[in-house]
C-alpha cells in the first residue's frame, strides 16, 4: 500500500551546515498493517511524514501510494489524495475556532460531498469512541489540548482513509487515554485494512504495532527497532 524508496531530504538552513533530515529511507506498510516509528527528537520523523503526505518534495527517492508516486501528482491530484486516500494527524493542529467538535469531525466528509446531516451522523460514533461525546457541541477554543488532538484524530479517520499518518497522537494524553487512542487506531487499521504509520515516543505503542522502526539522524536503524524499556500493555 505505502512504499517508500530510498528517500532523501536535505535541509539547507540560512546559516550553518546542511542537515540530511531523511537519509536513504526505504520502508513499506501493507494494508491493515500498523507500523510504529520511534526516534529521538530531531531525527527526521516529522520530515518523513511530510514527504509521504506530499507536503514536501523529496530530493531523491520516491513515495508510492497504491503504486502512484506522490511527487508526480498535480495540485488537484494532491488535494484528492489528501481528501480521499490520506488521513493525517499532525503533531499539533491549529483548528478553526467557531465550528463545534462535531462540525470539525464532519468537515472532511461534507467536503467529499456529503450533506452535513449525513456527515454528522457518520462522525458522531467516532467522537464517542474518542470519549468526546460530551464535547461534541463545544468549539475548538473551548477544548483542552488533548481533546483537540482527539478531534484531529476524528477528522483524520472520518473519511475512512486507506493510509493514516499520525505524528505523536498520544503526545498530550495520559496513559489511559493514550491506550484508548492507540487501540482505536489499531482497530481501525485492522477493520478497514488501512495502512497506518505511527510516529511516537510512547512505549505503549509497541504493543499495538505489527512492526517497529527506529530513525536516527535520518537513517532507519535496524538494530534498535524497539524502545529500551517497553511498558507492558494489552497484546495486539
Amino acid at each position: 500500500m505505502l512504499e517508500v524508496r530510498e528517500l532523501v531530504k536535505e535541509y539547507r538552513p540560512v546559516a550553518g551546515e546542511s542537515v540530511r533530515a531523511v537519509d536513504e529511507v526505504s520502508l513499506s506498510v501493507g494494508a491493515g498493517e500498523l507500523v510504529a516509528l520511534y526516534g529521538p527528537s530531531g531525527s527526521g520523523k516529522t520530515t518523513l511524514l511530510e514527504l509521504i503526505a506530499g507536503v514536501q518534495r523529496p530530493d531523491q527517492g520516491a513515495v508510492l501510494v497504491d503504486g502512484q508516486e506522490v511527487a508526480a501528482l498535480d495540485q488537484r491530484g494532491l488535494d484528492r489524495y489528501r481528501l480521499f486516500t490520506l488521513g493525517i494527524v499532525p503533531q499539533s493542529l491549529r483548528l478553526v475556532d467557531g465550528p463545534t467538535a462535531l462540525d470539525l469531525a464532519a468537515l472532511r466528509l461534507t467536503e467529499q460531498g456529503l450533506s452535513w446531516k449525513a456527515a454528522h451522523q457518520r462522525a458522531m460514533p467516532l467522537l464517542e469512541r474518542l470519549g468526546l461525546r460530551a464535547r461534541a457541541d463545544h468549539q475548538a477554543g473551548e477544548l483542552s489540548k488533548g481533546e483537540r488532538q482527539r478531534v484531529a484524530i476524528a477528522m483524520a479517520l472520518s473519511t475512512q482513509p486507506r493510509l493514516v499518518l499520525a505524528d505523536e497522537p498520544t503526545g498530550n494524553l495520559d496513559t489511559r487515554r493514550g491506550q484508548d487512542v492507540l487501540s482505536l487506531l489499531a482497530e481501525y487499521s485492522a477493520e478497514q485494512g488501512a495502512s497506518l504509520l505511527l510516529v511516537t515516543h510512547d512505549p505503549q505503542a509497541t504493543h499495538y504495532a505489527h512492526r517497529t522502526l527506529a530513525l536516527h539522524d535520518g537513517r532507519l536503524d535496524a538494530s534498535k527497532a524497539a524502545p529500551a524499556d517497553p511498558v507492558p500493555g494489552p497484546a495486539s
Binding site: 516529522t46 511524514l49 511530510e50 503526505a53 507536503v55 514536501q56 495540485q75 488537484r76 488535494d79 484528492r80 489528501r82 481528501l83 480521499f84 490520506l86 493525517i88 499532525p90 503533531q91 499539533s92 493542529l93 491549529r94 483548528l95 478553526v96 475556532d97 467557531g98 465550528p99 462540525d103 468537515l107 472532511r108 461534507t110 467536503e111 460531498g113 456529503l114 450533506s115 452535513w116 446531516k117 454528522h120 468549539q139 475548538a140 477554543g141 483537540r148 477528522m155 483524520a156 473519511t159 505524528d167
Partner: protein, 840 residues
C-alpha cells in the same frame, strides 16, 4: 528599566510584529495627516487676512472706516495729524479689483498707500518705493499674484476697478525674501494718488489707520469718535480678521467636523491593527510577571511601545499632511474672496502641529492599552487567540448596548428636531449608536449563518462563519471602519449636494429676474457689489430693443462682526425678495413694503443678533444713518454672514450715491437673450469695461464661486472613502495573514485551495455588506442632521433630499475597492504552503 534597556527590548520584540505595527503606523499617520491638512487650510485663510493687516498696519491701534464704497474725504487725515496725541495717521484706499495678465486673472484688493505707511507697517513696503512708484505710475504686485497672471517686471496688465478696465504696468514684484508673507497676499499696491486716479475717486480714501502716542490711546479713541460723528466707523486694527473669522466659521466648522470624522476612521484603523498584537502583548505581560518584573516596569514598557509608535506615526502623518495641504487641500478662499483679501499662502501655526501630534500619540496610547485593559483579545493561548471570550465583546452583546444605542438614537432625533445647533453631538451620538449596534447586528447575522451552515454542503460556509465568529471583535472593528467611513462620506457629500442645490436655487431666483445683466467685470464681483457710474443706464435706456433698465445697487457692509451683503433691487421689481427666501412675514406684503420708503428685509441670524423681528425698527448705520422698519426676515441668500435687502432708492439715500452695482435690462418682446446681449454690448460701447451677461451666463459665473468654496467637502468625502478602503483591506489582509497556519491545516486535511479562497471571499463579503449597509443608512440619516444644522445655524440655503445617488456611489466604490484588495490578499494567503500547518 533604563531607557537603553527599553530601547533594546523594544527592538527585539518589534521583529515579531513588524507588519501589525506598520499597519497601526499607517492608520495613525493617515488620521494625523487629515487633521493637520484641514486645520492648515483653515488657519491659512484666517492667517493670511491677519498677516496682511499685521504686516501693513500692525503698529497702529485703530482704523477709521468709511461705510460705503465712495470712501471718506482725505482731508480728515490732516485733521487727525494735527492732534498731538496722534503719532501717525495713514490714509489707505482699498477697493476690490481684478488684475488681468497674459496668463490669467486674479481677484485682488487694490491698495493705495503713501509713504506714511512706513510709520505703522511691520516690514512692509520700504518708504522709498512709494515715491518711486508715484513717479512711475505703476503697480506693485506680490510675487504670488504676478505668478498667477503671468506678469513680470514692466509688463502691461489690466486692472478692473470701480467698474472700469484700466491699463497699467507692473512696476515692482514683491518677492518673498524681501517682503515675507506679503508676497502671498492677494493685493495690488499702488501709490495713493495713482490708485485714486485708477479708481476714479480723487481725494477719497477708504480708511485711515491711526497710531496713538504712548499713553494717549484713550484720548485718541475719543478723538476718533468725535471725528467719525456717527457717519464713519471706529474699529480696532484687527477688526477685519474678526469679521473674517465670523464669515469663515460655518465653512471651518463643517470642514472641521468632517476632518474629525475622517481622522477617527484612521485611528480606528490603528486600533484594529494593534488589536492583532494584543494577544502577544498579554502573553508578554504574563511572562514578565512570572519573571518577577514590577508593575511599574511593565507599564513603562507598554507606554514606551505606544509613545514610540505614536511619535513615529505622527511625524509621518505631519509629513503626509504637509503634502496633502500643498497638493489636495491648498487653501482656497472660494466665495470669501469676494469680500476679504484672502491670500493663498499657507500659514502653519504651532497649535496645529501640537494638536495633530497630540492626537496621534494619544491614539497610539489608547490603541495599545485599551485592548489590554478591556481584555478583548480573548485568551492568551495562541490557539485560542482571537476568540471573543473577552469581556468587552460580551458586554457589547448584552442588552444594555441595545438600550444605550436606542437612547443615543433618541438623542439624534432630539438634535434633529429641537437642537440643530448641536450637530456635533448629534453626529457623535449617531456614530456611537451605530458602533454599539454593529456587534449585535453582526452576531445576529452570524448566528443566522451558523444556522444555515449545515444546509450547504462543503466546508466553505462553515469555515467562513466559524472564522468570523472566532475573529469576534476584530470583525466588528472592520465593519466599523466601513460603517464610519460611509456614514461620514454619505452624510458629508449628501449634505454638500443639498447645499449646492440650495445655493443654485438661490442664485437662480435672484438672477432670473430680467433678460440681460450688466455688471462691473471680474470674478470678485460675482455678487454684483462693485459700483459703477449710472450714465451707462442712461445710454441703454435710449437704445432700440431695450424695453426697460432697472438700476440695482448694493455692496458689502459691516454690521457688528458681520460683513453683510446689501442687495438693493430696483423698487419696480416684481419681487424684491424671492418669495421662497422669506422666512418670517408675508412675501407679498414684504414686497409691497420694500417698494415703499424706509423698509428693509434682514437675514435670520442677523435679525436675531440685532434683536429685531418683523415690524420693529432697525438703525441702518450707513454713511447716512437711517432708521428703517423690518419688512420681513429672509434667508441669507447664500452669503453666510448675512444679507440686507432694501430698494435701490433707499440705498442711494442712505449711502449717498447714485452709482449702480448692476443693471437689469429688459428687452423688447421677440428679442432673444443672445441678441439682446450683443445689442447691449454695442450700446455700451467697447471702452465701457462693463460685463454683459445673459441669465444662464450670470448664473454660471456665480455658481462657480460657491462651488469652488465648497469643493473641499467632496475632497474630504472621497479621501475618507479612500482611507477606509485601504484601512479595511489592510485589516482584512492582516486578519487573513494571521491565520495562514490554520489555512494550511485545513489544506492538509484535503480542502482545496480554491475552496479556502471562496470561504475568505464570503467572509469579506459579509463584513463589507454589514458595515457598508449600516454605514450608508446612518449616512443618509446623518445628511439630514447636517442639513438641519447648515440651515439653522449657518443659514446656508439647503434643499434637503435623500442622498440616494451619493449613497449608492459611495457604497459601490468602497465595497468594490475593499473587496478587490481583500480578494487579492486572501488569494495570496490561500496559497500558503501546506507544510506551514506542521510547524509551530
Amino acid at each position: 528599566m533604563s531607557l537603553s534597556n527599553l530601547v533594546f527590548f523594544y527592538r527585539r520584540r518589534l521583529r515579531a510584529r513588524r507588519v501589525q505595527e506598520l499597519l497601526a503606523l499607517v492608520g495613525i499617520a493617515v488620521g494625523v495627516a487629515l487633521l493637520y491638512s484641514v486645520q492648515v487650510s483653515s488657519t491659512s485663510l484666517s492667517g493670511s487676512v491677519e498677516q496682511l493687516t499685521q504686516g501693513l498696519f500692525g503698529k497702529s491701534q485703530w482704523q477709521l472706516v468709511a461705510r460705503g464704497p465712495r470712501g471718506l474725504d482725505e482731508h480728515l487725515v490732516s485733521q487727525l495729524e494735527a492732534s498731538r496725541d496722534v503719532r501717525a495717521a495713514v490714509p489707505v484706499l482699498e477697493l476690490p479689483a481684478s488684475v488681468n495678465g497674459r496668463t490669467g486673472t486674479r481677484t485682488v484688493s487694490l491698495i493705495g498707500v503713501d509713504p506714511r505707511i512706513g510709520q505703522v507697517g511691520e516690514g512692509s513696503l520700504p518708504t522709498g518705493y512709494g515715491t518711486v512708484l508715484a513717479a512711475l505710475r505703476a503697480l506693485a504686485l506680490p510675487s504670488a499674484v504676478a505668478g498667477a497672471i503671468g506678469a513680470r517686471f514692466g509688463d502691461a496688465v489690466t486692472l478692473d476697478v470701480g467698474g472700469r478696465a484700466q491699463p497699467a504696468r507692473a512696476g515692482v514684484v514683491l518677492s518673498r525674501d524681501q517682503f515675507g508673507a506679503l508676497a502671498d497676499a492677494p493685493i495690488v499696491a499702488a501709490p495713493l494718488t495713482y490708485a485714486q486716479e485708477l479708481a476714479g475717486m480723487p481725494g477719497r480714501v477708504s480708511r485711515v489707520y491711526v497710531a496713538a502716542r504712548q499713553g494717549r490711546e484713550q484720548a485718541v479713541e475719543a478723538l476718533l469718535h468725535r471725528v467719525a460723528a456717527g457717519r464713519l466707523d471706529v474699529r480696532p486694527v484687527d477688526f477685519d480678521a474678526r469679521v473674517f473669522a465670523q464669515a469663515a466659521a460655518p465653512n471651518d466648522q463643517s470642514t472641521g467636523l468632517f476632518a474629525a470624522i475622517s481622522a477617527f476612521v484612521g485611528f480606528l484603523f490603528a486600533f484594529n491593527a494593534l488589536l492583532l498584537v494584543a494577544g502577544q502583548r498579554r502573553e508578554l505581560i504574563e511572562a514578565l510577571r512570572l519573571w518577577g518584573f514590577r508593575t511599574g516596569s511593565i507599564v513603562r514598557i507598554l507606554v514606551f511601545d505606544a509613545v514610540v509608535l505614536g511619535l513615529i506615526a505622527s511625524a509621518l502623518g505631519l509629513a503626509l499632511g504637509e503634502l496633502l495641504s500643498r497638493t489636495v487641500f491648498p487653501p482656497t478662499p472660494g466665495y470669501l474672496g469676494l469680500a476679504f483679501p484672502v491670500g493663498a499662502g499657507r500659514v502653519v501655526r504651532w497649535e496645529t502641529v501640537a494638536i495633530s501630534l497630540g492626537c496621534g500619540v494619544l491614539a497610539a496610547v489608547l490603541a495599545t492599552l485599551v485592548p489590554l485593559v478591556l481584555d478583548i483579545s480573548g485568551r492568551s493561548d495562541p490557539e485560542a487567540a482571537g476568540t471573543d471570550a473577552g469581556s468587552l465583546a460580551r458586554a457589547l452583546r448584552s442588552r444594555w448596548t441595545l438600550v444605550a444605542s436606542i437612547a443615543l438614537l433618541a438623542i439624534t432625533v432630539v438634535v434633529l428636531i429641537a437642537a440643530p445647533g448641536a450637530a456635533v453631538v448629534g453626529m457623535l451620538a449617531l456614530i456611537a449608536a451605530m458602533l454599539l449596534l454593529l456587534p449585535r447586528l453582526l452576531s445576529a447575522i452570524l448566528s443566522v449563518g451558523a444556522r444555515m451552515q449545515h444546509r450547504v454542503r462543503g466546508s466553505v460556509v462553515m469555515l467562513a462563519v466559524g472564522e468570523l465568529r472566532a475573529a469576534g471583535f476584530r470583525s466588528v472593528a472592520i465593519t466599523a471602519i466601513a460603517g464610519i467611513a460611509l456614514l461620514g462620506s454619505v452624510a458629508v457629500e449628501g449634505s454638500h449636494r443639498d447645499l449646492l442645490r440650495g445655493l443654485d436655487r438661490d442664485v437662480h431666483q435672484l438672477t432670473a429676474v430680467t433678460d440681460v445683466w450688466v455688471t462691473a467685470p471680474g470674478p470678485a464681483n460675482a455678487l454684483a457689489t462693485t459700483p459703477f457710474g449710472i450714465d451707462a443706464a442712461r445710454r441703454l435706456e435710449r437704445s432700440a430693443g431695450v424695453a426697460a433698465v432697472g438700476v440695482q445697487r448694493g455692496g458689502f457692509f459691516d454690521v457688528g462682526d458681520r460683513r453683510v451683503w446689501v442687495l438693493a433691487p430696483p423698487a419696480t421689481s416684481a419681487e424684491l425678495v424671492p418669495g421662497e427666501q422669506v422666512l418670517e412675514g408675508d412675501p407679498a406684503q414684504a414686497t409691497t413694503r420694500l417698494r415703499g420708503h424706509g423698509w428693509v428685509a434682514l437675514s435670520e441670524a442677523l435679525a436675531h443678533e440685532q434683536g429685531v423681528s418683523v415690524g420693529d425698527t432697525f438703525l441702518l448705520r450707513a454713511p447716512q444713518p437711517t432708521r428703517m422698519r423690518v419688512a420681513a426676515i429672509i434667508s441669507n441668500l447664500g452669503w453666510t454672514p448675512g444679507a440686507i435687502v432694501l430698494n435701490a432708492d433707499d440705498y442711494a439715500r442712505a449711502w449717498q450715491t447714485t452709482d449702480a452695482s448692476a443693471l437689469r435690462v429688459t428687452l423688447d418682446p421677440g428679442i432673444s437673450p443672445a441678441a439682446g446681449r450683443a445689442l447691449v454690448e454695442r450700446a455700451l460701447g467697447a471702452g465701457s469695461g462693463l460685463t454683459v451677461e445673459t441669465v444662464p451666463e450670470r448664473e454660471r459665473s456665480q455658481r462657480q464661486v460657491s462651488h469652488d468654496g465648497l469643493v473641499r467637502l467632496t475632497q474630504i468625502a472621497v479621501l475618507m472613502l479612500g482611507a477606509a478602503a485601504l484601512a479595511m483591506a489592510a485589516a482584512m489582509g492582516a486578519m487573513v495573514w494571521q491565520r495562514r497556519q490554520r489555512l494550511a491545516a485545513v489544506k492538509l486535511l484535503g480542502v482545496p485551495t480554491r475552496r479556502l479562497w471562496h470561504a475568505m471571499l464570503l467572509e469579506a463579503a459579509v463584513l463589507l455588506a454589514v458595515g457598508c449597509t449600516i454605514g450608508t443608512l446612518a449616512g443618509i440619516y446623518g445628511a439630514q442632521l447636517l442639513n438641519r444644522t447648515l440651515t439653522t445655524v449657518t443659514g446656508f440655503p439647503v434643499t434637503p433630499s435623500l442622498p440616494i445617488p451619493v449613497a449608492l456611489a459611495a457604497y459601490g466604490s468602497l465595497a468594490l475597492i475593499a473587496f478587490t484588495i481583500a480578494a487579492a490578499t486572501s488569494y495570496i494567503a490561500a496559497q500558503v504552503p501546506t507544510r506551514t500547518a506542521l510547524q509551530d
